[in-house]
């Protein structure tokens, strides 16, 4: 304050106002750069700590990828961005650099897969439609944990199954590629439950091995006895019950597909199939549904007649039940006996024949066939289809057949099974038997009996008794005519009179009972009066109920 006054005196010539001093405060302005530095520092620290790994992904082309725009997404959550696209050293690929978020670090391992999601249109589905507008993005499948790495080779096609998708993988083996296509649907009771993930040729080049994935919870339906079959296109079947069309879905008609179902069987347990279990892929539904027998016995059948109409694949039947099929047909000329022999190799599935009861003494499952042959079981060529001339091999018991035995380890290393000539020869013997029977018929005797019968009949017709009978019948008819005439002349008028009388009586009754009849009128009046009386009686009863004393003292005066 004192300084203030002294300064006042210094400038005396200028009129000035007295001023109050103000306490000087610490300048807070330096807080501003401090705060700014703190914010800046925080941003830097944040950027540094959140900076994730930078990875490189090699693709064939960079179609749809743009630096600074294309995102890396995991489960549709953005976890990174493409920061650069360069060519590989040999110019054969592009190397995409991507900056990932920090949390993506733990996804990355050697099993991690990257692929570009673009709009794709296939026969079965349209994928990634959203990318038409938003542009392509890079998808990531973390895969199983493995060695960490930052350099990846991208997939050209999106993987069908990503890690974490619940379900189970199986392998299908088939001889032909058929309807195996990556992404081809797999159906269970026409329900889409999975997809073909990949396929490849087996190492020996004999089979196509398809890897399929069945989504949870349907993988539980794949059991050890399940059968897979190719469900491509339409399965047409014409049989006695008419035309049958099988198809799994419209999609499978176009792109093919695989169906599976469990076939009830005593051979395989009904337990769930394990991961990567191997199944056979059948060519169609029917083949899959046929019983599959693991035991196959090969036999050689030696035929001497023509096997025209018999081809590999022709059935071997036992009384109409297929028990195997023809595998191969060969031919050989036996110079020793000057005979042509045609060895037909068949594969039989003995499990198809089950045994009821106990086996006879000394007969086991193994030598059962010897027992049958002993009993007369033979193979025979038969015509299965008269139109096409397709033949089949029939097994049956021929008790009259020449005795024969199985020849173990015969031609082509298989057991030789005895045969019997074709039925055509047998038909000949049957016909002769028929002729012999015809011979035995006593035609002469039959003729004599017949003539005697005819004579007897004639005797009856010409007898006088018959004449008499006819005459008396005539008289009866005349009598009947007379009776009819009498009925017409006498009975009819009387009946008319009776009817007239009845009509009169009815008219009288109508006049008495008609709606306007006096009787009716009076009856109505009487009924009304009766109703009145009943009402009065009810009133009285009511009154009496309320005033029982009035029965003794009479009706009281109204108050």
């Amino acid at each position: 304050m004192s300084e203030q006054h002294s300064s006042n005196s210094d400038v005396a010539e200028t009129p000035v106002a007295a001023v109050k001093s103000l306490k000087r405060r610490f300048s807070l302005v330096w807080l501003v750069p401090v705060v700014a530095a703190l914010i800046g520092g925080w941003l830097v620290v944040k950027a540094l700590t959140e900076k994730g790994p930078e990875i490189t992904i090699t693709f064939k082309t960079a179609e749809g990828l743009e630096v600074g725009k294309t995102k890396v997404r995991f489960k549709d959550v953005e976890i990174g961005q493409v920061t650069g696209i360069i060519f590989s050293d040999d110019l054969s690929h592009v190397v995409v650099k991507a900056q990932l978020a920090k949390e993506a670090e733990r996804f990355l391992s050697e099993n991690t897969r990257f692929w570009v999601v673009r709009a794709r249109v296939s026969a079965s589905a349209i994928y990634g439609l959203g990318t038409v507008f938003s542009g392509a993005y890079i998808d990531i499948d973390p895969g199983k944990p493995g060695k960490p790495t930052h350099n990846f080779v991208g997939l050209e096609e999106p993987p069908v199954v990503t890690t974490g998708l619940p379900g189970r993988h199986f392998r299908l083996e088939s001889e032909r590629k058929a309807s195996i296509e990556v992404g081809a649907p797999i159906y269970y009771r026409q329900l889409r439950v999975g997809e073909v993930v990949a396929y490849s040729l087996s190492e020996d080049g004999k089979k196509i091995v398809a890897k399929v994935f069945i989504n949870a919870p349907f993988h539980g339906f794949v059991r050890q006895n399940s059968r897979f079959w190719s469900a491509s296109g339409v399965d047409l079947k014409m049989d006695a019950s008419g035309l049958q069309v099988y198809t799994e879905s419209l999609v499978s008609i176009v792109v093919g597909g695989i169906a599976f179902d469990s076939i009830p069987s005593s051979h395989a347990p009904e337990t769930q199939a394990l991961e990567d279990a191997i199944f056979k892929l059948y060519s169609n539904r029917q083949a899959a549904q046929e019983q599959e027998y693991s035991i196959k016995n090969y036999f050689v059948l030696l035929f001497e007649e023509s096997v025209r109409g018999l081809s590999p694949g022709a059935p071997v039947e036992f009384r109409g039940i297929p028990i195997g099929q023809v595998v191969d047909i060969k031919s050989e000329f036996d110079f020793k006996m000057n005979k042509v022999k045609i060895p037909v190799i068949v594969a039989a599935e003995p499990e198809r024949i089950s045994i009821a009861g106990k086996l006879p003494q000394g007969v086991t499952r193994e030598n059962l066939i010897d027992h049958f042959v002993e009993k007369g079981m033979r193979a025979q060529l038969r015509t299965g289809n008269l139109l096409t001339g397709q033949n089949y091999v029939a097994l049956d018991f021929f008790p009259n057949a020449k005795p024969a035995k199985l020849v173990r380890a015969g031609r082509y290393g298989h057991t030789e099974f005895p045969t019997t000539p074709t039925q055509l020869e047998e038909i000949g013997t049957r016909v002769s038997q028929l002729v012999a029977k015809l011979d035995k018929i006593p035609i002469d005797e039959i003729g004599q009996d017949l003539s005697a019968t005819i004579k007897g009949a004639r005797r009856v017709v010409t007898s006088p008794e018959l004449m008499e009978t006819v005459k008396s019948l005539n008289a009866a008819v005349q009598e009947l005519q007379l009776l009819t005439a009498e009925l017409r002349t006498r009975t009819a008028p009387e009946l008319t009179a009776t009817v007239e009388q009845a009509r009169k009586s009815l008219a009288a009754a109508e006049s008495t009972l008609g709606a306007d009849a006096p009787l009716q009128n009076r009856l109505t009046t009487a009924l009304e009066e009766l109703a009145g009386a009943a009402r009065a009686l009810r009133v009285l009863a009511d009154y009496l109920e309320r005033h029982p004393e009035s029965a003794l003292f009479g009706k009281g005066k109204p108050e």
């Binding site: 300084e3 203030q4 300064s7 006042n8 210094d10 400038v11 200028t14 000035v16 106002a17 007295a18 001023v19 109050k20 001093s21 103000l22 000087r24 300048s27 302005v29 330096w30 501003v32 750069p33 705060v35 700014a36 530095a37 914010i39 800046g40 941003l43 725009k69 995102k71 953005e78 959203g130 507008f133 938003s134 542009g135």
Partner: protein, 213 residues
């Protein structure tokens, strides 16, 4: 260079900065003391108190904020699923590439050139004042005036972003969101404006006075 007339400080007087009441000044060397105007109660000072220190603080703060303002995205445009983040410079480059030179120029001048200019000019003025430089006093004063006048136009960018964010809200078709840079950029503009305000141009001339004495 001659002074046109005596200064208030030479006369030992202080004019109230608010009501322009002429008050007795402080003796030289007592600048730290602050008084109150007896009429309006405003703070009295011959020169803005702590002018250089405050200006420096604010300029430094603005410089710090200027870095995230340019590094971080200013706008995030979501158009048909495409998300694109643009910083100030990438926006300018985009407009240049798409041929919209005038727009690019406006954005560049308002958002890059002016803030930088202000920061540099203020730094230069502060340094020159602290060094008691006597050269080009008039030009420096003019520079200060320009800086103060042009400062508010930097907010143009913020306004554009604000309007865009408010207007472009077409749901899935297109949406614009302000990025974190907008906040920092606004901070830069505001802080530089304060820095310019806290700088006392009379300090430029004080050097001249001092050497004249």
């Amino acid at each position: 260079m001659k002074t046109p007339g005596p200064t208030a400080r030479d006369a030992g007087l202080v004019a109230c900065s608010v009501c322009h009441l002429l008050c007795p000044g402080q003796p030289p060397g007592r600048q730290a003391r602050t008084d109150k105007c007896p009429r309006c109660g405003a703070r009295l000072y011959s020169r803005k108190p702590d002018s250089i220190a405050r200006s420096w603080a604010l300029v430094i703060a603005a410089c710090i904020f200027y870095i995230p303002a340019n590094v971080l995205p200013m706008t995030t445009v979501t158009s048909l699923g495409t998300v694109q983040s643009d910083t100030i410079m990438s926006g300018v480059i985009y407009f240049v590439q798409s041929g919209s030179w005038p727009i690019a120029l406006v954005i560049f001048v308002a958002s890059v050139f002016v803030p930088l200019l202000k920061l540099f000019v203020l730094s230069y003025l502060l340094i020159s004042v602290q060094r008691r430089s006597r050269s080009r006093l008039k030009d420096r004063t003019r520079l200060y005036l320009i800086t103060e006048a042009v400062g508010r136009w930097s907010m143009l960018d913020i306004f554009v972003v604000t309007i865009l964010v408010a207007l472009v809200h077409l749901g899935a078709l297109a949406t614009i969101q302000a990025g974190p840079a907008a906040l920092h950029f606004a901070a830069v503009v505001v802080i530089t404006m304060f820095a310019a305000m806290s700088f006392d141009p009379r300090l430029i001339w004080d050097a001249k006075e001092k050497t004249d004495e």
